[in-house]
């Protein structure tokens, strides 16, 4: 039997159910379909036959795909999650995010992100919240649960209480740029991410100082330190977060909105918008425009649905 043509009506409902991509669900469109299709079970039957990802033929009826139900759970929850996170104290948000990735098999870039893009006082706040919530210190749990070679780097990043003034020592910035170059270009016994000098410089120096160091690095060696770090992902992310959070966050957002992004990558959109709305949203939009030639609000509008979309735009808007 030939597949039925998907009517425009059906397509609209499928889209509202996040069946054609996009984050979140279009609650208004779904409710409107309830009204429009009252006493018309044949319309719902048509939907079930057209909505290939969600329903599958099983003998005499179409049943729901379990995977899709799970997927829908996440998509419906995007609005709930963003609202709850928005209401939460920033310190608690950060503490919970770190705890979450330490206790589930999830990538640890959130830890680098939080340790490097928050101010010194905000990072201290997250550590205080972590005590209160989890009865351990943040660094204790990172040290215990992270067993890869970048464990030491992460522990030092989350323990930092960087000086935040503008006083910089130019000679030191120069010599540390040279030390970083030398560490990168000289293969040692240990991996670069375990190199004591690299860790010392990246985890203790103030951010203004590091930005001058990175600038000097590029001037002296022709390429940015990021480029020279190649596939040292953890170190690259550290440098990006320390050097320019807006550029880093605009990349994260871009990845979240790409086709085929996994759940974790998509969840980052909520995380970035909620945590940066009051911090550097303007700079993130500028960076996004520079890197991808599009307005962030337009891209969000096109790729998200419903109340979730409205919430994002409220936070990211003027």
């Amino acid at each position: 039997m030939a597949l039925p043509l998907v009517t425009e009506e059906c397509e609209a409902v499928i889209r509202a159910f996040s069946g054609l991509g996009g984050l979140g669900v279009d609650e208004k469109a779904l409710v409107s379909a309830l009204g429009k299709w009252r006493r018309q079970p044949e319309k719902r039957a048509q939907l079930r036959k057209s909505f290939v990802g969600f329903f599958t033929a099983d003998g005499s009826f179409e049943r729901c795909e379990d995977d899709y139900i799970r997927y829908l759970k996440n998509e419906f929850a995007r609005f709930k999650n963003i609202m709850v996170l928005w209401a939460m104290h920033p310190w608690e948000r950060d503490a919970r995010w770190v705890h979450h990735v330490l206790h589930k098999p999830l990538p640890l870039d959130i830890i680098v992100e939080i340790a490097c893009t928050r101010s010194s006082e905000e990072l201290l706040g997250a550590r205080k919240a972590y005590h209160a919530l989890f009865h351990h210190s943040l660094e204790e749990d990172v040290a215990y649960h992270v067993r890869e070679n970048y464990s030491n780097l992460l522990v030092r990043l989350v323990s930092a209480y960087r000086y935040e003034g503008n006083r910089i020592n130019k000679e030191m910035a120069t010599s540390e740029a040279e030390a970083l170059y030398s560490a990168i270009k000289t293969p040692g016994v240990k991996k670069l991410v375990e190199n004591e000098e690299v860790i010392r410089i990246l985890t203790t120096r103030s951010k203004p100082h590091l930005r001058v160091t990175f600038k000097h690095y590029k001037e002296k060696y022709g390429k940015s330190i990021e480029e020279h770090l190649g596939d040292e992902l953890c170190l690259r992310e550290t440098v990006q977060c320390l050097d320019s959070p807006p550029k880093y966050f605009s990349k994260v957002i871009n990845k979240a909105l790409k086709d085929g992004a996994d759940k974790n990558t998509k969840d980052a959109l909520t995380r970035v918008i909620v945590s940066r709305a009051d911090v550097d949203m303007k700079e993130i939009k500028e960076a996004y425009h520079q890197q991808y030639g599009a307005e962030l609000e337009d891209v969000i509008s096109k790729n998200t649905l419903g109340s979730y979309r409205d919430a994002l735009l409220s936070l990211a808007g003027q």
């Binding site: 550590r127 351990h136 210190s137 030092r156 323990s159 209480y161 000086y163 203790t204």
Partner: protein, 315 residues
Amino acid sequence: MASLKVPATVPSPSEDAEQLRKAFEGWGTNEGLIISILGHRSAAQRRAIRQAYRQSYNEELLKALDGEISGDFERAVLLWTLDPAERDAWLANEAVRKWRPENRVLIEIACARSSGELFAVRQAYHARFKRSLEEDVAAHTTGDFRKLLVPLVSAYRYEGEEINLTLAKSEARMLHEKISDKAYNHEELIRILTTRSKAQLIKTFNHYNDEFGKPVNKDLKSDPKDDFLAALRATIRCICCPERYFEKVIRLAINGLGTDENALTRVITIRAEVDLKVIAEVYQKRNSMPLERAIKGDTSGDYEAMLLALLGQEA
């Protein structure tokens, strides 16, 4: 228990500031007056006096003192007058600049303080030196000492009493394994010592003793000349029993020929508002002599008078 004695009624900060100003006036200095005021005021009171002095005379009290008094007496008064966090930051900076492997100051500051107090030191360090404490410690130390000291001064240990027995057992075994292998700088050993809460560590050390028959510090004595082992032992003692640790520092400073005034001044000024009374009791028990008598025997003049004031001798 603190040893500091503050009178029941205290003059206002501006009255105290005025008296101190009088102590400086003219030729010579009235050291006794300085001791009788500053040596009997709490940190909050001293801070108020400094502010009142600044407002009345447009000059920093500490700078004025610097011009009037000198030597060990000056160091004691200067260190004492500072806020506890400022004092620790000042001592930490001195320790970093003159870093030597036998230096224990950083370990004391990191381990014989509460987490909140250690963080206050880090804040005071930013304000005074325009760099972070961990940045300076990292830049001025190397090798195993850096591996131990940077995490120690960066720690923000959980302060609750909850302990995980299973973890205490497994980490005691881990410590024993690394110590037996003489892998004293091993990441796991450092991780345990520098991140676990004090309650958890004390339980771990108790279990170590129970299971292996020896206190962990005894097993860390294999080479008496090894400075790193000494640093590890000091870390453990500051965490577990600071009063006994500081009694030993005082004892070594006083006993024998000569006196280590810097060490003596350091312990007395940093503990007078914390537990110097207890330390003095430990001293008396251990040495069958009151601490005051030992100090009288080993120091003199205004320096002696200042130390005794902080030990609680009435003005």
